[in-house]
Amino acid sequence: MDFTSAHVHIALTAALALAAPPGCTPSARDGGPTSGPASAPPWFADVTDEVGLDFVHEAGTVGDYFMPEIMGSGAALLDFDGDGRLDIYLIQNEDAPEDSGAARDRPAARNRLYRQGGDGRFADVTDASGLGVAGRGMGVAVGDVTNDGRPDVLVTEYGGARLFLNRSGETFDDVTRAAGIDNPFWGTSAAFFDFDRDGWLDIIIANYVVYSPTRPCSDQAGQRDYCGPAPFPGSAARLFRNLGATPGEASSVRFRDVTVASGLGELSGPGLGVICADFDGDRWPDIFIANDGKPNFLWINRRDGTFAEEALYRGVALNAMGQAQADMGIAIGDVDGDALFDLYVTHLTDELHVLWKQGPRGQFTDRTAVSGLARPSWRSTGFGTVMGDFDHDGALDLAQVNGRVKFLAGPSPPGTPFWNAYAERNQLFANDGNGVFRDVSRANDALCGTPAVGRALAVGDVDGDGALDLLVTVVEGRARLYRNVAPSRGHWLMVRAVEPALGGRDAHGAEITVIAGSRRWARLIQPAASYLSSNDPRAHFGLGDVARVDRIEVIWPDGSEAVFPGTDADRVVVLERGNGGSR
């Protein structure tokens, strides 16, 4: 290039830059300051085809804007056959043909159970399992209610709930009625936890609203769309106390509905998410319920079989602006290394997903903005969400799946898929180690690149390589499994905490703290979290460059403490209650 042409080039560049109309510069919508580079190596790869997972979610006949179909349905990662590998249970949400306005020449789709083989592939074992039920399924929770060491399954539905007992590691029996589970409501997320510390896992079911399918809803322009919860009365969550089972007779397990006696019946809410943990530090499990469009509930366990609702006092009822938002999925974890569990709750596209950091113990403050989460690469309606240290740098990252519940500016144009108007991309946020997040969605095309109507999100080490993988469900689409392929991962530890005296079942509610030098990592054993989902029951720790931990401290669900000796990293350890040193 000679001098003249160089000048001309510079001048043209300047001219074009000047000519760019205002408003064409990148804004937060196109990637704000918290966004990571798109060229960074991805953390996840889609292995759905590779592992043979062929589940397709059916939402039934669309066009009537029947609200349950937009809410999606759940997913569970569980080892139902006790072979040490995580299996998959996926929920359907389709009306029966006789209830459908349109003719359909096949029966309603059924929930599916997939067993993982030694080669990492999944085989559909639904038919013989007893779990292949049809209906308007919503959520799934996993826990051993009979203390026989085998995980049982609870499915919530639009208008019900079903409890399935794991008979032999191969088949399940529906014992709902005999066991005394009666939840004739729109059940959503559910959890197994031992609220009275008697050694038997109890059941909490979040219920949504008393929905009216004939009520038409529209946007302000009068365009028909799905209803939100506002026009309908909320339903109270239901608490079922496990009265126990006779040893060797699993089917003798009985529950009593203690919703009223416990105090939970005093407040109705449009509940979507639920998480059970000790929030106030008294070593009794409390209950946090995410309500859609109403203040959340934090039921503090009063240690006498009753709960007191204290969400407002403790800062988790409303966001920082004092608004009751559309709270949906819940992730729990210690994002800033202070050994206190924080809460992340997903919301609508025109709201912010909220991070409530805990501190002092039992008090929460909305720290969304200072944590870098107020300016994501794109706005979204979030549902399932999990915290996990995906790159093993020692800090909990965040993943969430997205999909609108209302269209943005109108329905999908004729000739295009109905669900396109609701599709959004998922998101992934990397923690810098201090509880500040960077949006790395653009660098994770497999998980975050394709718009869909995402709903459930379950996390666990599916392939047994010590890293957390993700299972995602979408409305009217294929469930997808994403394998963790984050490069240069640090060390890790996977901890299973079990109670030999209770059949060797997972110790729901146990708090595990791994200590190495001055560093401490805290995790909760509680598979029920996210939205309509059940996760790997083990606690996963990313350790960064720590190749050996000094000790592991446990607070068991009954409040007792134990210390287990240190161990080398990069392994799965099983902590058996009674086999660790007491403190």
Partner: protein
């Protein structure tokens, strides 16, 4: 390169720069020449009508800020946020001194798929232009707060207080800033000052409850929580600019909201007339018909309420709310047999609708079927365990039937629930 070549190159640069400047100015001035098209084919015809007409006015007067602004406000009023923003920005270009357009553009940008960064630009501009009107500055401050810019937010809230020292919204904002910074005592002072100026804002009492709880004042916290629980959800802060948007809402949904407001502000006949006009225009508007029936019942016009709701159940026989409302009207008209039938239809359609079980129980009790009444009332509280009226009436019936102990338990529960 010769001197002549250098001169020519320099001239070329100057010429190109001038051209670019002209292009930029032209882009700034008339970047949007045609109003955006929005697909409202599925929308309420009334909405489509006003938007189309307004669009025509813009096409006829493309240099008119008010035409663009009017269309922007109509689109914003009917939740077409992106298109509204385009129009409001163009209005702002054409009338750069009018604070309404950048302010409403900021509002549009905070809705739909929010872009807080772009919204802040509009709000900052509106704040500069708005003079004594503080709505833009307060929203600017709140948006800064939401974005974690606490220092900037506090500065703007204080600027509002310099003009209006008792502005409760700004005091609330400063209370929030202090709370976020962990200064609970400062938060308490600000929040109490805000509550004294605007005692019916739920968010103030809610935050005050938390602050007092953390400060160890359990009684004060409980008092504030009770206050918060009795207040409506969102404060309607005065906002003269946005009120112009709300006033532009049309269609059945807007009519229903307006009729409700008219009825509850004493203009009952106007409310009925508006709903009848809506139904004449949109006979399938179930919500309008239900509201008309309900308001007629509230005003004691039972005959017309019954006929309105019979039309509703005839048009939408699967609508449980319509059967329930009809049952209420029949009950008020002492037609218990018909009311019982309506409540049973409601329950057939929606088993877990507790109020229908409750009203059915009362009907049955009046008709002497105490066993049926007891069953229905027990179902009411089973389906809705926080139903104070259900427990009250179940308790009373049990006591009437000689089951005093159980009756007292239910009455006590009703009292506890009412006290919450």
């Amino acid at each position: 390169m010769s001197a002549r070549s250098k001169r020519r190159a320099a001239l070329l640069v100057v010429a190109l720069t001038a051209c670019a400047g002209a292009v930029w100015w032209w882009g700034l001035r008339t970047r949007v020449t045609e109003p955006p098209r929005v697909d409202l084919s599925g929308a309420d015809p009334a909405v489509r009508g006003v938007v189309d007409a307004s669009r025509e006015r813009v096409l006829a007067n493309p240099d008119s800020a008010s035409a663009w602004g009017e269309l922007g406000m109509l689109l914003l009023a009917h939740e077409q946020f992106a298109a509204a923003s385009t129009c409001l920005r163009q209005a702002s270009r054409l009338a750069p001194d009018d604070p309404r357009w950048p302010y409403l553009d900021g509002r549009a940008l905070l809705e739909g798929e929010p872009d807080a960064t772009a919204a802040l630009e509009g709000l900052e501009r509106a704040t500069r232009l708005a003079g004594a009107e503080t709505s833009p500055r307060v929203l600017l401050a709140e948006t800064l707060f939401e974005q974690g810019r606490l220092g900037d937010a506090a500065r703007e809230f204080r600027a509002v207080l310099e003009r209006e020292p008792q502005n409760p919204r700004a005091l609330l904002g400063l209370g929030r800033v202090a709370h976020s910074l962990g200064d609970l005592e400062e938060a308490r002072v600000r929040l109490e000052a805000s509550a004294s100026g605007a005692p019916r804002v739920r968010g103030t009492h809610a935050l005050l409850a938390e602050v007092l709880f953390r400060l160890g004042d359990a009684d004060g916290a409980a008092r504030e929580r009770d206050l918060a629980s009795r207040l409506p959800e969102s404060p309607a802060w005065p906002d003269p600019f946005f009120q112009q948007v709300l006033d532009r809402r049309v269609g059945a949904l807007a009519d229903i909201e307006r009729a409700n407001h008219l009825f509850h502000t004493g203009r009952r006949d106007d409310a009925f007339a508006l709903l009848r006009r809506t139904l004449a225009r949109s006979p399938d508007a179930l919500l309008a018909r239900l509201l008309l029936g309900r308001l007629l019942l509230q005003s004691g016009n039972l005959d017309e309420a019954e006929s309105t709701l019979r039309e509703a159940v005839s048009a939408a026989p699967a609508a449980f709310e319509a059967w329930f409302e009809l049952g209420r009207v029949l009950e008020r008209g002492r037609k218990d047999a018909d009311a019982e039938e309506a409540f049973r239809r409601t329950i057939d359609l929606r088993t877990d609708y507790a109020p229908a079980h409750h009203r059915l129980g009362l009907c049955l009790a009046r008709r002497g079927d105490t066993a049926g009444a007891l069953r229905a009332l027990r179902d009411a509280v089973r389906y809705r365990p926080d139903y104070a009226a259900g427990y009250r009436d179940l308790g009373r019936l049990l006591i009437q039937l000689g089951e005093r102990d159980e009756g007292e338990i239910h009455l006590e529960r009703a009292r506890q629930l009412l006290a919450r």
